[in-house]
Symmetry: C2
Subunit: 355 residues, 2 copies
DNA sequence: GTTAGCACTCACACACATCAAGTGCTAATT
DNA sequence: AATTAGCACTTGATGTGTGTGAGTGCTAAC
């Protein structure tokens, strides 16, 4: 953004307005800025400056006799200056990367935990999601024989991801036959993506299995489903209720609109992917009231990190006037914090006294 | 409940009032009942009857010049007569019992799916939960060697529950050593509940493992965590947003209160366990405005079924004036519906054209 | 036992006056 | 030329009074 158009005092005033608005949630007047915020000039001067800032598009006036509120552009300026300030803390990411890598199997849990933390560190809704970048490939199969009609299918994927699913059959299978299937799977299915599992391949395995060919279909189905699950995007939200404390959401119709979007996770991912201003790896969505966007008066801010080949994003959702300074700091901290969290011994809750 | 106090006409009027209130959400007046509902007497007569019903405690009047609204007792009468009507459909449960049994490993998914269905069949929030009845016991262990620092731990529990978790070590383990651990675990840990895994047992296994004794702690920790997870109660909610469409929740503070309870799942389970009127296996919670209960103006209705030793409850949460008739029918249907759902071939979405 | 009629109650909507916050503009000051 | 004081003006918010309509309870007639 071209900040050069703004004199130092304009910047100072703009920042003060955003700060004040974030604190109190109401339009900011010239009087307040002159008296309580430490701007060293009279309210009249500030009014003049505000008028110019409004003309430049950084501020808007809800109605003639109200104070000013930051516009989308105003927030953008504010946030970008903050991001610049924080962006030094970039080193630790690779560390977590390595540490969390082995937890990838429980990506679900990581997402939940991350969004829970993001929410608990702030007064906003926590969000964590993985995008659907890249198809996963099978490395190797293994099976565990449990009973004639019941075995465990172990799938190992690229990037140290391991998934195990129980398979139930309606007929009996001998251990030797299961072993034969494992070998076949390791020949015909390895190194494929879910899309590449085709009918001819299945038929060939079925042929190999002879009289128990019927076990192939449910098993391959499970393989396919597991791979699809790993491929698809996923979002976890935590602490949605926290938003209700803000006056922005004192109108139920607005709450409904917002929760509606949050509940439809596809839609949310869509909003994220199309409407996000990214600066380094901190992404910011700022809802726009004018252009009738889906989530007006609402902002999202999150950071994307790359773990074991998957992109994982952590952040918060809150009112447009959310405390960006705090949030950006928190998100950066969270990256390192997660590290410690997952590394710590959390068994038994009451410490390890028992063991 | 003692219905004998109510004349047939009183019952008819009471039912009509509940119905009308459920439909329109507003107090019901005598005029409406006389004209639009098919009560064959004049409004004055109905007024007299209503006055008596109010005195008996079945109706309440928000203010002098408003119509009547069913009281908790009124709803109770209404619901009970419905439950009686539906309670014949009791046979199918054993069927689902058997079919879903093999899906138990993914109890999580069953819960999610069930609450999703309950919500989609109605215009209310779906709820599904398992209570923490009974501790799970280990039947057998199995391990799969993946790499020197990485193996898969397979745990089989009573009731055909199988869980597999990957274990990552910071040092190397030989396949033979892993095998030795599996044997030890099958001797010392089988048939225990999570509480019965004690320090002496762990020490003994560590001793057996000799130089690689350090692999015992993280592994047993995972076993303990897995068992705890199976033991603890869990709730899944779906479609919380749907509640916002009802005028009962047009006040944000009320929404906040409700969502607050729903988000704290322990609290919700507590409400469920203490405040529920049960009739057969259909349970009904009716919020009471007077007694300052947690969820005023809100009702829950759910059915409990027993699957593989675990109690699973499915139902909905909605405004007090929810469509009980529809909901009770739906819940009974859902039991059988789930059956078909889980049995169906859902692979590939676009049918099985591909295979 | 039922019904018609009427006086009464009360929430709600509407109009209207008042209030306070905040602006824009002009003229005076530095 | 920039800053400031002062003042008229705008506008949402708040409070008050009144009318309206839905609905009741009661009494008297059927």
């Amino acid at each position: 953004m071209d900040d050069s158009r703004l004199s130092p005092r304009k910047k100072q005033i703009l920042k003060a307005i955003v700060d004040a608005h974030i604190d109190h949630g109401e339009p900011v007047g010239s009087r307040y800025l002159a008296d309580d915020a430490k701007i060293n000039c009279s309210s009249a001067t500030i009014r003049n400056e505000m008028a110019e800032l409004e003309q430049m598009g950084y501020l808007v006036q809800p109605h003639t006799s109200a104070g000013r509120v930051p516009s989308k552009l105003g927030y953008k300026f504010y946030v970008e200056s903050l991001v610049r300030q924080y962006s030094e803390t970039k080193t630790e990411i690779d560390e977590i990367n390595e540490k969390l890598r082995y937890k990838l199997t429980e990506m679900d849990e990581i997402l939940s935990e991350a969004s829970r933390l993001a929410s608990s560190f702030t007064d906003y809704t926590g969000i964590a999601f993985k995008s659907n970048s890249g198809k996963v490939r099978i490395n190797k199969f293994e099976t565990v024989y449990i009973s004639p009609k019941h075995f465990l299918l172990v799938m190992m994927f690229a990037g140290d991801i391991v998934k195990a699913k129980p398979i139930h059959l309606s007929f009996s299978l001998r251990e030797e036959e299961l072993h034969r299937f494992t070998e076949a799977a390791n020949i015909y299915l390895v190194n494929l993506t879910s899309d590449e599992i085709t009918m001819p391949i299945i038929v060939r395995i079925e042929a190999l299995m002879g009289s128990v060919g019927a076990m192939v279909h449910p098993t391959v189905k499970m393989i396919y489903e597991t791979m699809s699950e790993l491929d698809t995007a996923d979002i976890k939200l935590e602490g949605v209720t926290k938003l209700l404390q803000y006056p922005e959401y004192s109108d139920v119709s607005r709450v409904r609109e917002l929760l509606g979007v949050l509940e439809e996770k596809d839609k949310l991912l869509d909003v994220i992917s199309t409407h996000t201003l990214s600066d380094d790896d901190i992404h910011v969505y700022i809802g726009d009231d004018d252009s009738g966007e889906v989530m007006s008066d609402t902002s999202m801010i999150f950071k994307t990190i790359n773990i074991g080949g998957k992109e994982l994003s952590i952040g918060v959702i809150g009112p447009k006037r959310m405390n960006y300074s705090k949030v950006i700091g928190m998100i950066n901290q969270l990256a390192t914090g997660l590290d410690r969290m997952f590394g710590e011994d959390k068994l038994l809750g009451d410490g390890e006294s028992k063991f």
